[in-house]
Amino acid sequence: MRQGILIRVASTIALLLGAALVLLPFFWMISISLKPPDEIFTRHVSLLPDRIAWENYAIAVTSVPLGRFLMNGVIVCSGILFFQMLFSVPCAYALAQRQFKARVVIFGMVLAGLLVPFHVTAIPIFLGLAKLRLLDSYTALILPFATSVFGIFLFRQFFARMPKSLFDAARVDGLSEGAIVWRIALPLSWPAATAFAIFSVTAHWNDLFWPLIATSDPAIATPPRGILYFRDEEAGTDLGPLMAGAMIITAPLILLFLFAQRTFIRGVATGGLRG
């Protein structure tokens, strides 16, 4: 009994330390975003500002078109998510519940695709888009991510666990294979879809690498690309407003995750199908 309590205390402390380590930069960001310039560069470390400088937020919102950046983020992320779902859900269904000759080979290719980082293919894609004169457009930001091998893999694992008789019943009821995908398979894999949406939106909302390569027009800058404009200004790096801007662009993600937390965890963990 005593030993049990000790183990729990020890593991709680370990988890708290881990959480603190992960959250520290985040708190640091909040802290700086609320500090006036003279407090940011001091010798002693203090997490709490002496004077709360709300003006950082005002500067962040007014000095660069932050609303525009957020809007761009929404357009790009929802565009990417839409196409990823459009392509990976039917593909995953075919791999999980249909019999065809090259099934194993194609699934092998999907798994192999998971091993290739985007950075490897970035240059060929960049060159291709350049030839097509599509750089510096929403298309350039969305098209390279329109399919997702991770999405295919995640949904395939989910669909493979669903009972075959469910899909047979749907066929008997007159549903086409397409209708089965959207009316039966997808609604039943809601946890997986939520998890996938969070992964996808987080990755592309936060992505700086590709927008930096593919775009230069501030009018289509995504949020992380946009806050770089703080740095580019002549006055040097304006750290307070920069952190305030960073706060504003991460807030939607945090809210999204908090809302979908339970579904997300179910989707990532096992996400069994309740009968």
């Binding site: 066929r171 008997v172 007159g174 039966i184 199908l273």
Partner: protein, 387 residues
């Protein structure tokens, strides 16, 4: 051949189905008569579920053709065949309510893809009026199946019996030409199973449609079906009424499978037919003494008889209430292989003996089945029965 009806809803012509190198169905030819309740009976792995899937159009034959009313439907999809299927697991859509589950087949058949689009379905008047009509029929079906109060529940909130009813409702609502039922009762408890059995029979009478009922449970098949196709190893080994399967099994396999208690098989020694003995003692005579024969006698057809030709020592007694199963080690002198045993079901009131006692059993000659030892086929000709 019995006459089950005028027209065949469904027919198989020389259908084979192979999965890789395993042949599940071998050159299967059968027909399902309109309006009849046909059971496909067989042990697991005999190909009965594959047969049903081929009928449904969920699977295609490797060879041969599937017809409906004489027309080839091998390439037709399930919905085009207008069949309904009830699955062993019920296969209800967990995310849809009972009403939506039952309505889905109608919705797919009677509304266009455009009318089913998420927003159109809510705001288009033609789509809404169609939906209203469909849900009226769904309601009527649900009332009939005692599901009226459950229309808005999800399948996960229903009991097994209720889920079963929803599955039946979903099959019923589109008024199919053929009902296919794949072991629909095997997930229910014993009491509910018996209740659902009579409900399904009543449903068959009311709809007047052809039912094909796949099961491994012979009491279900015997009790409900007008006709049984007994399958073994991908072939139909006997096709007939429940009574004909029980009374005239075509071979030892059918004889061994059908019946509540497995049949006794007694292998006669060569020449036993001519020398009188047991064969004559049972009231049988044969014109061809060279034949090697096996006698089949059901335990329930044996009775205590002081002059009976089957005698031996009681080896085991099982009291079953009204009846008692006794196992007899048959005497060597009867003319059977040594160590032959016989199980007999006798009325418990008539058991004044115990283990080790010697008793005689008899059987009416018309209840003795005679099979050829080698092939196991029933011998019809040349056997005289003193009925």
């Amino acid at each position: 051949m019995d006459d089950y009806g005028s027209e065949d809803v469904m027919g198989f012509q020389a259908v084979s189905r192979r999965f890789g190198s395993t042949e599940i169905l071998k050159d299967l030819t059968l027909s399902i008569s309109d309006g009849a309740f046909t059971a496909i009976l067989g042990p697991s792995g005999c190909g009965k579920s594959t047969t049903l899937r081929l009928m449904a159009g969920l699977d295609q034959p490797t060879e041969g053709s599937v017809t409906m009313f004489g027309r080839d439907v091998s390439e037709k999809r399930p919905a085009e065949r207008n069949i309904a299927m009830v699955f062993q697991s019920y296969a209800l859509y967990p995310h849809l309510s009972v009403a939506e589950n039952i309505a889905l087949p109608l919705l797919m058949r009677e509304t266009s893809a455009f009318q089913r689009l998420p927003l159109i379905s809510k705001f288009s008047t033609s789509s809404r009026s169609k939906r209203a009509g469909i849900f009226e029929r769904v309601k009527a079906i649900a009332e009939m199946l005692d599901l009226g109060d459950l229309l808005h529940r999800k399948p996960g909130q229903l009991s097994g019996g209720q889920q079963q009813r929803v599955a039946v409702g979903r099959a019923l609502v589109r008024d199919p030409t053929l009902f296919l039922l794949d072991e629909p009762l095997s997930n229910l408890d014993a009491k509910l199973r018996i209740q659902m059995r009579s409900e399904l029979s009543a449903l068959h009478r009311r709809t007047g449609r052809a039912f094909v009922y796949v099961t491994h449970d012979q009491t279900e098949a015997m009790g409900m079906a007008d006709r049984i196709l007994l399958m073994l190893d991908g072939r139909v080994i006997q096709d007939g009424t429940p009574r004909s399967l029980y009374e005239q099994p075509q071979n030892t396999k059918v004889a061994g499978f059908i019946g509540g208690h497995s049949m006794n098989f007694l292998v006669l020694q060569r020449g036993a037919t001519s020398a009188g003995g047991l064969f004559a003692g049972l009231g049988l005579s044969c014109s061809d003494p060279s034949m090697e024969m096996t006698l089949g006698i059901r335990p329930e057809h044996l009775d205590l008889d002081p002059d009976g030709p089957l005698y031996g020592k009681v080896e085991h007694v099982e009291y079953l209430g009204g009846e008692t199963m006794i196992e007899l080690l048959l005497d060597r002198q009867i003319g059977l292989e040594t160590g032959s045993k016989l199980r007999a079901l006798v009325s418990s009131a008539r058991v004044p003996f115990g283990l080790g006692d010697a008793i005689n059993l008899g059987c009416k000659p018309e209840l003795v089945h005679v099979f050829e030892s080698g092939s196991g086929e029933r011998i019809r000709t040349g056997i005289e029965k003193a009925a």
